[in-house]
């Protein structure tokens, strides 16, 4: 099968599987939102009220496949429903509040760790055997060996509670007016330091190793020898010749990481009370908020697929050989 139909087929199949999983996975979990309703409203609801609420929530007793059909038809009309845990706020509105922050936190931390890690890896490879090479990669590796939440809690405790250098959590403080102003930007940045910094700290090791390995491979290539023979300056040799080629395989991994920014930040968001989608997803799962869960799953899958697509495209731009 040629490349294009295969990609299309892949995206279609992945989409179909995602939609199906989105629907059935939450419903396979023990417990159901109805009981949760009873529990939360204990004593404040009669049986009739409960039924009325269940109707309002869209919790019908129809067979699953019928519900699935309804879900699909709603999905095709672009209706994602209302959140149960934040009833009756529409799911889109709930997601809207966290989307930007997740994107900010995710992109900043992934790109930062990618950039720093790759630079360290490239330098370590170029200066193989030097003191830098024998210290930096193992240190980065060891930092990456700590469970993420452990690092995060420790950082929270030390920097925010003990020394009170940085804010405790959330994306910005009460005392700034959200908008395009310097004070707000500075505040957002200050609130980003701990969550993004801890993510960078634990994820940098992987990038370092990756870059170091691919770079060492590239350094053996004849075109590097030729670049040196040409008398080019070292930055040019390392940049345009070595790193430029070494980055290619790493790029696919970067795509995977970026694709996961909406899914992978749960612990960060929990620890730092960061208002993103990861924590919302966790909440949706623990409160059986089916519509919210489904919408988030969908968003995550779509973002992974979209980033995959972008990486495919970008790869073509970066590596002329695959054109």
């Amino acid at each position: 099968m040629s490349r294009l139909p295969r990609r299309v087929l892949f995206y279609l199949a992945a989409g179909a599987v995602a939609v199906t999983l989105n629907f059935f996975l939450p419903r396979l979990m023990p417990g159901d939102p109805a009981t949760t309703l009873v529990a939360t409203y204990s004593g404040q609801l009669t049986a009739e009220d409960l039924q009325a609420l269940r109707d309002a929530y869209g919790l019908v007793d129809a067979p699953l496949w019928q519900q699935f059909a309804t879900y699909l038809s709603h999905l095709f009309r672009g209706e994602l429903g209302v959140s149960l845990s934040q009833f009756p706020t529409p799911v889109t509105e709930v997601i809207g509040t966290g989307f930007g922050w997740s994107l900010l936190l995710g992109l900043v931390s992934v790109l930062l760790s990618f950039a720093i890690g790759s630079v360290i890896g490239a330098v370590a490879a170029w200066r193989r055997g030097s003191r830098f090479d024998s210290i930096a990669p193992p240190v980065a590796l060891f930092a990456g060996s700590f469970p993420y939440f452990f690092m995060a809690l420790l950082a929270l405790y030390l920097f925010a509670v003990q020394w009170q250098l940085l804010p405790l959590g959330q994306a910005y403080g009460f005392d700034v007016e959200p908008g395009l102003n310097a004070a707000f930007a500075a505040d957002v940045l200050a609130h980003l330091v701990l969550p993004a910094g801890t993510v960078v700290l634990v994820s940098i090791g992987g990038w370092v190793l990756n870059m170091r390995n691919t770079m060492i491979g590239v350094l053996d290539e004849d075109y590097l020898l030729m670049a040196e023979a040409k008398g080019l300056s070292t930055p040019r040799v390392v940049g345009s010749y070595a790193a430029r080629n070494a980055i290619l395989p790493t790029f696919t991994l970067l795509g995977l990481s970026i694709g996961n920014v909406f899914a992978g930040q749960l612990l960060t968001e929990v620890v730092f009370s960061y208002p993103g989608l990861g924590y919302q997803l966790y909440q949706a799962v623990t409160t059986h908020d089916y519509p919210l869960m489904q919408a988030l799953f969908l968003l995550i899958t779509v973002s992974i697929l979209v980033v995959n697509l972008l990486v495919d495209v970008a790869y073509v731009l970066l590596d002329p050989r695959v054109r």
Binding site: Y223, L225, A229, K230, R236, S240, N245, D319, P320, R321
Partner: protein, 319 residues
């Protein structure tokens, strides 16, 4: 030769590995006159590439140059500081590597690969550098439009020609060619060789031509040097090489090539295998495989003149 372009003297290179130091180039001396083609042949692993890379000091760890000098127009390359070294590279010594596919940066357009070397050394603007690149392409018979191509979009022969053109970009005095045609088809090889010969006649650069194909060398070189186990064992003019080759190893090599007009004679090759470079035997490295070997061979034979302009390192063929 006082007027030598390149004078390599007593050059030794070791690879310092975990299992000891391998002496890949062992006290090698030779000269290349301006405009001359010096052919360097020998078996795989005898140190040809190491020698070629040692001249512009391109060797990487764990290689170490342990002795000798490389004089280019009076300066010892081995003494230059980094900046001076970079400025000599390509403007005075250029190289063509065996596999142009690997030697060209796969993610850079051909034009940029011309331009970066031209701009680094001449300070020309990008547009002027590309103009110059176009001229060079025409010179080697590539459509200048191809400058916008990436290496993988060119055929093997075109890539090799492009590599040749890049080597000539700064009109160097010496071009080191390390098996520039080995990866090619015979017909293509012929084509490239003719290109090289023609260009050399026009531009007058000297060539250090490395290959393992003696037949080819005899056709293209002015002088031929034969390397064995890190040393040069014989050096003679190409013209009469077939008949005058004296060293038993050289003769063995010549006897290993079937020719298209030989008739049915059985060739024998050279039995045995080359000596270890880490722990080389004392004396002549070829003694173990040599039919003429005698007790004298336990001592290193001197590289002596056995005929005018013909030197060899063998006790048995000495004067």
């Amino acid at each position: 030769m006082a007027d030598a372009l390149l004078a390599v003297e007593d050059l030794s290179v070791e690879y310092r590995g975990l299992r000891g130091a391998a002496r890949a180039v062992d006290r090698v001396s030779f000269e290349v006159a301006p405009g001359e083609v010096l052919g360097l042949a020998g078996e795989s692993g005898c140190g040809k590439s190491t020698l070629a890379l040692a001249i512009p000091r391109l060797l990487r760890a764990p290689a170490v140059i342990t002795s000798g000098s490389v004089r280019l127009g009076g300066r010892d390359i081995l003494e230059l500081d980094d900046r001076r070294l970079r400025s000599i590279r390509w403007s005075e010594i250029a190289m063509v590597f065996q596999n142009a596919m690997n030697a060209l940066n796969p993610v850079m357009r051909l034009g940029s690969q011309f331009a970066d070397v031209i701009r680094t050394h001449t300070g020309l603007g990008r547009a002027r550098a590309l103009e110059r690149a176009a001229e060079l392409c025409t010179l080697v018979g590539i459509d200048p439009a191809r400058l916008r191509s990436y290496p993988h979009e060119l055929s093997g022969g075109m890539r090799q020609r492009a590599a040749l053109a890049i080597a000539l970009a700064l009109e160097p005095k010496l071009v080191i060619m390390d098996e520039p045609t080995t990866a090619l088809d015979v017909v293509l090889q012929r084509e490239i060789m003719e290109e090289i010969t023609a260009l050399r006649e026009r531009l007058g650069f000297a060539v250090l031509f490395i290959t393992h194909d003696i037949s080819l060398l005899i056709e293209v070189a002015d002088r031929i040097a034969i390397m064995y186990g890190g040393r040069i064992v014989e050096q003679a003019p190409a013209r009469s090489f077939l008949e005058s080759a004296a060293h038993p190893y050289t003769r063995g090599l010549l006897a290993s090539f079937p020719s298209i007009d030989d008739d049915g004679e059985r060739l024998t090759g050279i039995p045995g295998s080359p000596p270890s470079l880490i722990d080389p035997p004392a004396g002549c490295g070829f003694a173990a495989r040599c039919t003429l070997a005698s007790d004298r061979c336990r001592e290193t034979p001197p590289f002596v003149e056995i005929a005018p302009a013909h030197r060899a390192a063998c006790w048995e063929v000495g004067a």
